[in-house]
């Protein structure tokens, strides 16, 4: 196990050490103390390790993560796990704007609320938010799933492609081309699997959610849709 205290160790040293880990490393347990809101903590990991961060982090924590499981015991700044490729990122508290932006794979679990543009341009990852999400969440989301146990802010799923959105609470408004869709048994099973991934199996009823997706009216430009642009 490696213990890194960012009060005394430069961030560059930590990230360089994480990047140098070989794929079959035995050094799989890392604890980071005193993050103190620094930006770019644990970005670009590509190894099957577990990283525990004890405190609040700044922008882009665990950005572009591959394989690693990163847990933040605190709140996270803008762009948490942005463009994640695989692995898992959890934050026990709230996440700021653009959490999981463009993430292509892996799982992002947010214990508290997520701010605006959560899952913007999502490309395949699964995001589970236990609280609320802010406005313009899942804007132009292409693939993957966004699960919101709380409420969603305005313009949810604006200009959505093929991502699936599940919301248990209220939706302030839907964005352009985002519509409510039927919640079938298959969708409930899929949602149950996502909740299990987040460690919420049994605690949350999939039947309490509504499903939203793309109406696919904007896939080809038509002048009749001009009011949507």
């Amino acid at each position: 196990m490696s213990l890194v205290d960012l009060a005394t160790t430069p961030l560059r040293e930590l990230n360089a050490a994480l990047h140098q880990l070989p794929p079959d490393t035995n050094n799989t347990q890392w604890t980071i103390r005193n993050p103190r809101g620094q930006h770019a903590i644990a970005v670009g990991i590509d190894a099957p390790i577990a990283v525990e961060i004890e405190g609040h982090v700044g922008y882009y924590c665990a950005g572009m993560n591959q394989q690693a499981s990163v847990t933040i015991r605190g709140n996270a700044g803008v762009g948490l796990a942005e463009n994640m490729m695989s692995g898992e990122v959890r934050v026990t508290g709230d996440a700021s704007q653009a959490a999981g932006a463009t993430a292509q794979g892996g799982t992002l679990v947010i214990g508290g609320n997520a701010s605006a543009r959560c899952g913007i341009s999502l490309k395949g990852a699964d995001i589970i938010v236990q609280g609320n999400v802010g406005h313009m969440s899942a804007f132009m989301a292409q693939a993957g799933n966004l699960v919101v146990l709380g409420d969603a802010g305005e313009a949810l799923g604006d200009s959505l492609y093929e991502a699936c959105l599940y919301v248990r609470g209220k939706v302030a408004s839907l964005g352009a081309d985002c519509i409510e869709k039927a919640m079938t048994e298959a969708h409930r099973a899929k949602l149950a699997a996502l909740l299990t991934k987040a460690g919420l199996n049994g605690a949350v009823d999939p039947a309490a959610f509504r499903r939203y997706g793309s109406a696919r009216r904007l896939y080809h430009f038509k002048v009749d849709n001009v009011s949507a642009y």
């Binding site: 930006h39 770019a40 670009g44 341009s121 896939y219």
Partner: protein, 446 residues
């Protein structure tokens, strides 16, 4: 005496309106028939003040020229000397601008890589990520980080030689990308995680940062991800070049890429291309001024693009203070785009060689701006790469010829004092004297 027959009333010669000219009227009719704005590829076609309005002052008694072919005039340039551990060493100050696989065929991307690598310079990816063909045939490859992040992959960031964060481009500062359904083939769709055949409109803002303070933190993330090895460029479309350059530098850029309104795009609205942004000639001096005011001219390198056609344009851009130029439209022409040899096929598409710009439709008879396998197969990447290499060599030789005539042993030693302007507008924009005078509008007292 017989009376003369009555004269017919003289008719005036039919006169067309300079304002409502044939093109404007045809566009009104097209808009009225379709209800859609016109979309096309390429850059601004209107006449704007450009490098043709500048001339070099060759050496004579007051300056000492260098002997052509005998005395060396170096052309190498290093990009990314500010922070990157591994700056890019270019043999010539001419790079290939970002153009995506998707907008271009795989054959065209390969040809660009072959041509650039033969002359020791770099190519650049575009929206949609990096293809193995592109990486394999480009010795030096710049990876673009765009707002859409289509195909964005940390492994590709690490295997690139530099990273270019695209804030905007000259053809459409403030606009996003566009790739219409005809070109979203199965491979392009898979790379971009999109349904096949849909119209793809990519975002105009980055998803995870807003404003210069955020950009600084974003660049820091990219530095950390790549262990501070890669040069990081920031590309902007020319609109407010002084402030954009200053803010890119403040955010931590190693290189600023400045694209004038003549710079091409794969597809966007005609009204955007022709009416948003400023010409490259007007953009270089403010950008250089920003670097000088920060004490970073030649330390943060400036790459300019938009309308570079020949070695004189290269030399003029460098003389105004750029460290290198980038070419896109000219590179495509060197590959074979708009070749009069294909005139019959261009006519079948309702256009003519030299005017073909419906690149978004994917029906390019030259096999360059298409994803149609049959059309793309027409382009031989080896032969097209050779043509590009020849063209790059000519650009370099021409720039060297001018630099030697001005007494410079390196093309980067060219300076504004080597230039004069033919028009008042060009003199004001380039901040060099009107030819035959000492007058620089706005600088020399009035």
């Amino acid at each position: 005496m017989d009376k003369l027959p009555p004269r017919p009333v003289p008719a005036t010669t039919p006169r067309k309106s300079a304002t409502f000219d044939d093109y404007s009227l045809s566009e009104i009719r097209r808009a009225a028939a379709t209800g859609l704005y016109d979309i096309r590829g390429g850059g601004a076609k209107r006449r704007v003040p450009h490098f043709d309005d500048l001339l070099f002052l060759g050496a004579s008694i007051s300056r000492y020229p260098l002997e052509g072919y005998r005395e060396k005039c170096a052309t190498n340039v290093t990009l990314g000397t500010r922070f990157a551990k591994k700056p890019i060493e270019l043999a010539i100050p001419i790079t290939i601008a970002g153009m995506s696989f998707g907008s271009l065929s795989a054959q065209a991307k390969e040809a660009l890589g072959r041509g650039a690598s033969a002359l020791g310079t770099s190519t650049t990816t575009g929206d949609g990520g990096m293809t193995p063909e592109e990486r394999g045939h480009s010795n030096l490859l710049v990876y673009q980080l765009l707002p859409s992040r289509y195909g964005m992959n940390p492994n590709d960031l690490r295997q690139a030689d530099a990273i270019e964060v695209v804030v905007g481009q000259g053809a459409k500062p403030g606009g996003g990308g566009m790739l219409l359904g005809q070109k979203i083939s199965a491979r392009v769709a898979e790379m971009r995680t999109l349904p096949e055949g849909i119209d793809q409109r990519s975002a105009c803002r980055h998803p995870d940062w807003t404003g210069p303070d955020d950009l600084e933190i974003k660049l820091h993330e990219l530095r950390e991800l790549t262990d501070w090895e890669k040069p990081i460029y920031v590309k902007v479309g020319a609109s407010r070049p002084y402030y954009d350059t200053a803010l890119a530098v403040k955010a931590g850029a190693d290189v600023v890429v400045l694209d004038g309104m003549q710079g091409g795009t794969a597809a966007t609205q005609e009204v955007f291309i022709e009416h948003v942004g400023i010409p490259l000639l007007a953009a270089i001096r403010p950008a250089v001024q920003a670097l000088q005011d920060l004490g970073l001219h030649r330390k943060v390198q400036l790459v300019v693009s938009g309308g570079i056609r020949n070695g004189a344009d290269v030399a003029k851009a460098l003389a105004l203070g750029a460290d290198a130029v980038s070419i896109g439209t000219a590179a495509l022409a060197a590959l074979g785009d708009n070749d009069p040899a294909l005139e019959e096929e261009y006519r079948a598409l309702g256009t003519t060689a030299g005017a073909y710009d419906d690149w978004h439709e994917g029906r390019d008879p030259a096999g360059i701006t298409t994803q149609d396998p049959g059309l793309a197969a027409r382009l031989d990447p080896v032969a097209a790469g050779r043509r590009l290499a020849n063209y790059l060599a000519v650009l370099t030789l021409e720039a060297q010829t001018i630099a030697r005539a001005c007494g410079k042993s390196h093309v980067l030693n060219l300076e504004p004092e080597d230039l004069v302007a033919l028009t008042v507008e060009a003199a004001a924009m380039a901040q060099v004297p009107l030819a035959g005078t000492q007058w620089i509008p706005g600088k020399s007292g009035f």
